[in-house]
C-alpha cells in the first residue's frame, strides 16, 4: 500500500516545528511502528534525518510508542497502543497525520518524542508504599475481596503513556494520577498511606501544569488500557476525605 505521511518535525524544544509530507510503501501486515521504521530507512538512504519516535517493548506494555495518529492518541482503534496498531486498518492511498502529544507539561524533545518526566515526578511525590511489607507473602495470606482486587488490578494496568492527557481537551492528567493512586489505595498495603498519597500526588499534578478534568470522558476512550474515569471520581472523594475526614493527612 502507498501512503502519504504528514509528520510533525521539530528539531528541539526551541524549534517551532512544522509538518512534512513523506511517501511511504507499506504492507498491511506491518505494525504502525514498522511502517515508521521503513520510512526512516528510506530517509537514512537519502541521507535525511530520520523521524525521532519512542518505542521499546513493541507489545503494548511499556507505554513509550506515543503519537497522535489522525487526531487520536495511539491511532483509530480503542484499547491498543501504536505498536499494536496494524496497517490493515488503513487504506491504500491514505494520508495519515502524525503528531506528538500536545500537552504543555510534556515538552517536545524532538519530532514525536516528548518529555514525560512530569509523570515520574507525580509518582515520586507519593506513588509508592514506604512501609515495609516484608517477604513476598503467600498469595492467600491477606484476604482481599474479589471486586476490590479487580478494581485495583484494572487501575494497575496503566502503562503511564500519557494518552489520557494527550486526548483530554484540557490536557488533564487526572486519569493517570487517579489510576496510580487507586491501584495502591484499594489494597491493604497501600491503604495505610492513602490520605497522604492522594494529597501529595494531586498537589504535584497541579504543579506540573496539567489542566482540570471536565469529565468529558475523552481519556477513557483513548486509554490503551481502557481505564475508567470512575477512577477519577474515586480520587476526588479520597481527596475530599483526606482534607475533611482525616487527622492523619495535613
Amino acid at each position: 500500500m502507498d501512503l502519504i505521511l504528514k509528520v510533525w518535525r521539530q528539531k528541539n524544544n526551541k524549534d517551532n516545528g512544522r509538518f512534512e509530507n513523506y511517501k511511504v510503501k507499506a504492507n498491511e501486515h506491518m505494525s504502525f511502528l514498522e511502517m515508521m521504521d521503513v520510512l526512516n530507512e528510506d530517509l537514512l538512504a537519502k541521507k535525511e534525518e530520520p523521524i525521532a519516535f519512542e518505542h521499546d517493548c513493541r507489545e503494548g506494555i511499556c507505554g513509550s510508542c506515543n503519537m497522535v495518529i489522525d487526531g487520536r492518541p495511539h491511532g483509530p482503534n480503542n484499547g491498543t497502543t501504536t505498536c499494536q496498531l496494524h496497517m490493515r486498518f488503513f487504506k491504500d492511498g491514505d494520508t495519515i497525520t502524525v503528531e506528538p502529544w500536545r500537552v504543555k507539561a510534556f515538552p517536545v524533545i524532538k519530532d514525536l518524542v516528548v518529555d514525560r518526566s512530569a509523570f515520574d515526578r507525580i509518582i515520586q511525590s507519593g506513588g509508592y508504599i514506604s512501609v515495609n511489607t516484608g517477604q513476598a507473602q503467600d498469595a492467600n495470606a491477606i484476604p482481599i475481596e474479589k471486586d476490590l482486587a479487580g478494581q485495583a488490578f484494572d487501575a494497575a494496568t496503566c502503562i503511564g503513556c500519557g494518552a489520557c492527557a494527550a486526548a483530554c481537551p484540557n490536557a488533564s492528567a487526572m486519569l493517570f494520577t487517579s489510576a496510580k493512586i487507586n491501584h495502591l489505595g484499594l489494597l491493604p498495603q497501600g491503604e495505610v498511606e492513602h490520605s497522604k498519597r492522594v494529597q501529595a500526588m494531586v498537589t504535584q499534578m497541579d504543579e506540573e501544569g496539567f489542566g482540570m478534568c471536565s469529565n468529558t470522558g475523552a481519556c477513557e476512550v483513548d486509554c490503551p488500557k481502557e481505564i475508567s474515569i470512575s477512577n477519577i471520581a474515586l480520587m476526588n472523594r479520597s481527596y475530599v476525605g483526606s482534607v475533611f475526614g482525616s487527622d492523619k493527612g495535613s
Binding site: 488533564s172 489542566g211 480520587m235 472523594r237
Partner: protein, 228 residues
C-alpha cells in the same frame, strides 16, 4: 485556614466549587420554573404577581437570593478561570487533526455554553429583575394586600409579544439545556459520586432534567406569544 485555601485552590477543589454551585443553580432553576408556570394561568396575573411579591418580601427567601447571586457569580468566574487554565495546559501548538467522537459536544464546550447562558441572564435580568428592583414597574392593587404590588406579569406579557424576544428566550433555553446535558451528571462525577449502582440513574435524570426544565421555561414565551 491554610488547609482550606489549599483545598479550594487545588484543581480538585476548584472542581468541587463548580459542582456545588452548579447543583445549587440546578435546584434554583427547578423552583424558578415551578413559580413561573403560574405565568400560564388565565387570571390576569394575580397568581404570578402575588407569588413575585412573596418571593421579594419573605426575609428567608431574600437571604437565599443573595446566596444565589453570589453562587452565579462564583460559578461563572470559577468556570472561566478553569477554562482559561485548561487552554494554557495544551501549550502553544494545537492538534492539526481534531479527534471526533471521543467526547460529547456539550462536554467540550462548557465554557462557551456557560458564557452564552450568562449573556442570556444579563438580558433576562435587565428586562425583569432590574425593573422590579428599581421600582420601574406599574403597580396593581389587590384585595388583602396593604400596598400596591408591582405588575411584573404585565411586563412579561408585553415583552413576550415581541417575536425577537421570544426567539432569544428559546435560544437561551436550548443553550442552557446543552450546558446541563453534560453539567448535571458531571457535577456528581466531580464530587466523587460515581458507582454502577446509581450513576446510570443520575445520567438518565440529568438528560430528562436538561430537556424538560429548559422546555418548561421555553413554553412560557411561546404560549404568551401565540395565545395571549
Amino acid at each position: 485556614m491554610r488547609w482550606l485555601i489549599n483545598f479550594l485552590s487545588s484543581s480538585l477543589g476548584q472542581k468541587i466549587i463548580m459542582s456545588l454551585t452548579g447543583l445549587f443553580l440546578i435546584s434554583f432553576l427547578t423552583v424558578h420554573l415551578l413559580g413561573n408556570l403560574s405565568l400560564l394561568s388565565d387570571d390576569g396575573g394575580y397568581t404570578f404577581n402575588t407569588y413575585a411579591y412573596f418571593m421579594t418580601h419573605n426575609p428567608l427567601i431574600k437571604a437565599t437570593s443573595y446566596g444565589l447571586y453570589f453562587f452565579i457569580v462564583l460559578h461563572a468566574i470559577q468556570g472561566l478561570v478553569i477554562a482559561l487554565k485548561n487552554r494554557m495546559a495544551r501549550g502553544a501548538n494545537r492538534y492539526a487533526v481534531k479527534a471526533k467522537g471521543n467526547a460529547s459536544f456539550s462536554s467540550k464546550n462548557m465554557a462557551l455554553l456557560g458564557t452564552l447562558v450568562l449573556a442570556f441572564l444579563f438580558i433576562h435580568m435587565g428586562d425583569f429583575w432590574l425593573r422590579m428592583k428599581l421600582d420601574w414597574l406599574p403597580t396593581v392593587v389587590y384585595e388583602g394586600y396593604a400596598e400596591p404590588i408591582a405588575d411584573l406579569y404585565g411586563r412579561v406579557a408585553m415583552q413576550f409579544q415581541n417575536p425577537l424576544i421570544v426567539i432569544a428566550y428559546v435560544i437561551g433555553q436550548i443553550v442552557l439545556g446543552l450546558h446541563l446535558w453534560h453539567g448535571f451528571q458531571s457535577a456528581f462525577q466531580s464530587l466523587g459520586l460515581n458507582h454502577p449502582k446509581y450513576t446510570p440513574f443520575i445520567k438518565g435524570l440529568g438528560k430528562a432534567y436538561s430537556i424538560l426544565v429548559p422546555a418548561g421555561f421555553a413554553i412560557i414565551p411561546i404560549v404568551h406569544f401565540l395565545f395571549k
